[in-house]
């Protein structure tokens, strides 16, 4: 399966031909999109010291992303490079999604907000600074001021930051000093020729550099920064934006280069491109990848640095579990109105203990379900994709019409694993379903064989079945992976009898626009 990189999948990349069956991209008025972050590995195949660091980090551990929440504070508006996929009126699109504007905070406001959120959301485990510009531009002043205060006031929260890497080598000592144990670097190329197509200019050593010079300096700084961090034992995740025709094939080399320098995770995210965002790529007709194109590159890289597939390309002020954003509940005005905020880590401690005990039982039950499938069907059936409506906790616990995203699992004889997520508009906002939105949902999960939900109405159920995607509610509130394996066993039997057909060759649309997830 995807652990083995077949030569076909590598050589095929050059001609990322549009897939055979491509659903029409839905017309969407509101801008909402999402994808999720982290390693798909559990404790079994991970160094215990690393697992200790990542197990409660929603972005670094795919298992943790079901249980833990992160929060970004937008204290770093300045940037030191220009990317062709970015429009500086909006957030940095390295880590956050293009086309959204985060609420900028001073370090003092940020601390107050963090403490307020920590009281309200016991799942909170990580505070990140991801912009809205570059967290280390302008000498990283606001970033480090925030971390310094935070370390004193809430030492149980983990700190992380994201950067384009240009200024990284200058700040590695400071990063180590504040106990920042996770850093994300966005690396889109290891060849300046490729880089020159992505970065029109950088600001470095009091000068604006362009063209190959700019790309070369950026590349060298990124590699140096990466090596300096990993040699100090700081975990590094690398983000890459996949830009079809520019760096898609090249990402395999990026994957090798960052792995050999000790990056712990590699997160390949789709370019989100829309003329309305006013980015150079958007205005010049550069398209983003389809869901299957993205998966092909991700699968091909899987033998290298570990892949993260649950990154949601969050806003620079995102709050909550991945896939949700509760930022609206904690705007600057609301925080200001709260007055003095007490800090108490009791609720978070209790929650973490609860998760610890829940996790212990999970691994055994997954293994049993997998063994059962292997025994009964062997390795003859190709894996399938299943879309899952979930609110977290690794369970199928969301109503079809309420889902703002679907998590995608690949299930086959070697097990079930999370491979991505697809952002959709809520089908049922305020009671009645609407047909356009349903078309959007169908396009987003068109490559899936089934969709697992806690509940679904008769009408959407019929449309799904007509489109060849089986709606399944018999596993409501059960664990996702075990249910997926049970379904696969049944599917394999029906396939053998010719009752169902394989959906190989179908593709799906990655939504453009931002996960704003404003609550109705």
């Amino acid at each position: 399966m995807s652990n083995v990189v077949s030569l076909d999948s590598i050589f095929g990349l050059g001609q990322l031909a549009p897939p055979a069956v491509m659903p029409a991209a839905p017309e969407t008025a509101s801008g909402c999109s999402s994808s999720s972050c982290g390693s798909s590995d559990g404790p079994a195949d991970m160094d215990p010291a690393v697992w200790e660091k990542v197990k409660n980090h929603p972005c670094y551990s795919e298992e943790a992303h079901h249980y833990f929440a992160r929060m970004h504070v937008a204290v770093a508006p300045a940037c030191n490079i220009q990317c062709n996929y970015c429009n500086r009126k909006y957030d940095c699109s390295n880590e956050s999604r293009p086309g959204v504007v985060s609420e900028k905070l001073t370090p003092d406001q940020a601390i107050k907000k963090i403490l307020a959120v920590a009281q309200e959301i016991p799942q909170l485990s990580v505070i990140g600074i991801a912009g809205p510009g570059d967290s280390l531009a302008a000498a990283g002043k606001n970033t480090f001021a925030t971390f310094e205060m935070l370390q004193k006031k809430a030492p149980d929260l983990k700190l992380c930051l994201s950067t384009n890497g240009l200024a990284l080598p200058d700040h590695v000592d400071t990063i180590a000093q504040y106990n920042i144990d996770h850093v994300t670097i966005t690396i889109n190329m290891v060849d300046p020729e490729v880089g020159a197509q992505i970065y029109p200019w950088i600001f470095y050593k009091h000068k604006r550099w362009t063209g190959l010079d700019a790309a070369k300096i950026l590349h060298e700084q990124q590699m140096l920064g990466l090596e300096m961090l990993t040699s100090r034992g700081i975990l590094v995740k690398v983000n890459s934006v996949m830009i079809p025709g520019v760096n898609d094939e090249h990402l395999l080399e990026v994957n090798k280069a960052v792995k050999s320098r000790g990056a712990f995770l590699h997160n390949i995210m789709p370019l989100i491109s829309d003329p309305a965002h006013g980015t150079w790529f958007g205005l010049n007709g550069q398209r983003g990848p389809t869901a299957q194109e993205l998966k092909v590159v991700q699968d091909a890289c899987e033998g290298g640095a570990k892949l993260m597939r649950h990154c949601r390309q969050c806003r620079a002020d995102a709050v909550g579990l991945l896939g949700e954003d509760r930022g609206e509940e904690f705007t600057a005005d609301k925080i200001e109105a709260m007055g003095f905020v007490e800090y108490d880590d009791e609720a978070r401690r209790t929650y973490r203990e609860h998760v610890e005990s829940e996790r212990a039982g999970r691994n055994a039950s997954k293994a049993a379900a997998q063994a059962d499938v292997r025994e009964s069907i062997g390795f003859t059936v190709d894996p399938i994709l299943i879309a899952v409506a979930t609110k977290g906790g690794e369970r199928i616990n969301e109503h079809f019409g309420h889902a703002k995203e679907f998590q995608i699992y690949e299930v086959g004889p070697t097990g079930a694993k999370f491979v991505g997520h697809r952002r959709v508009d809520q089908y049922c906002e305020g009671g009645s379903g609407d047909v356009d939105t349903l078309d959007g949902v169908l396009a987003a999960i068109n490559d899936c064989t089934a969709v697992f939900v806690a509940k679904i109405g008769g009408c959407p159920s019929k449309s799904l079945a007509d489109a060849g995607i089986e709606p399944v509610d018999r596993f409501a509130f059960d664990y996702i992976e075990e249910s997926a394996l049970a379904y696969f066993k049944d599917y394999a039997e029906r396939l053998g009898q010719g009752v169902v057909q394989s959906r190989a060759g179908q593709d799906a649309v990655i939504r453009t626009g931002a996960l704003t997830a404003r609550r109705a």
Binding site: P77, A78, C79, R88, G133, A138, A139, F203, H206, K207
Partner: protein, 63 residues
């Protein structure tokens, strides 16, 4: 002999403020402005005006 910021195009990112060697740039009523009395166009200090070189919106221009 001074630079100015075209405030309509400014994204209020503050990158220029951090680079100015003469502390000529500050935030006034929600937008960044250059104090012409302090601005030297970076002459004698750098090859080019720092604010203009770093500005993502290219809105730092000769006054």
């Amino acid at each position: 002999m001074a630079y100015k910021i075209k405030s309509a195009e400014c994204t209020v990112c503050g990158a220029c403020e951090a680079e100015c060697p003469n502390i000529a740039i500050s935030l006034k009523k929600g937008t960044y402005v250059i104090d012409p009395a302090k601005c030297t166009e970076c002459q004698g200090q750098f090859d080019s005006p720092q604010c203009a070189a770093v500005c993502p919106a290219d809105c730092c221009v000769p006054a």
